[in-house]
Symmetry: C2
Subunit: 98 residues, 2 copies
């Protein structure tokens, strides 16, 4: 169990805010920066910080869409969905062995 | 679920390493710094960093025992045990609503 948590502490999703971002994105094809920010009640700077870390880790990708005004979109990658599954598996073990 | 994770991100136990420390301490009356460090495979500096944060948050207390040589002991507080219970409850909800 301790080993599992060590694994979690090294995951890009081993942080509640980043885990919340991934859980929000999983069932959605994509989300706008703005909807994500409102759903998670984060400041733009704070969300930007976490998205940058997640994008560098390959968990999400971001891109701009241009309609009436440019909007930033965020989506989870296949690798990100797999990592999320792994993190949820670890958390399940931690809870069950509690 | 997102709200629950926001609560978790504000908890002193909302970090896998600190969660592992609390889970290790819960069933024990106390642990030595050294046994904790070995069980969690942390460097002394890293463990010290997390213990300091947990002690400031009232989750654990540390003290020195003097035998043949001084040893640092760590134990979870009542407040810490309650916070751990709350964090495990939150994680259970995140998993079950997944």
């Amino acid at each position: 169990m301790i080993d599992e948590l060590t694994r979690l502490s090294k995951s890009p999703l081993g942080n509640p805010t980043r885990l919340a971002i991934a859980l929000y994105l999983l069932p959605r094809e994509r989300a706008t920066f703005s909807s994500l920010r409102k759903a998670l009640k984060l400041t733009p700077g704070n969300l930007e910080f976490h998205l940058k870390a997640l994008e560098e880790a390959g968990i999400i990708r971001t891109y701009y869409g241009f309609g009436k005004r440019p909007r930033k979109f965020v989506e989870i990658t296949e690798e990100g969905a797999e990592e999320l599954e792994e993190v949820l598996r670890i958390l399940r073990e931690v809870i069950e062995n509690d």
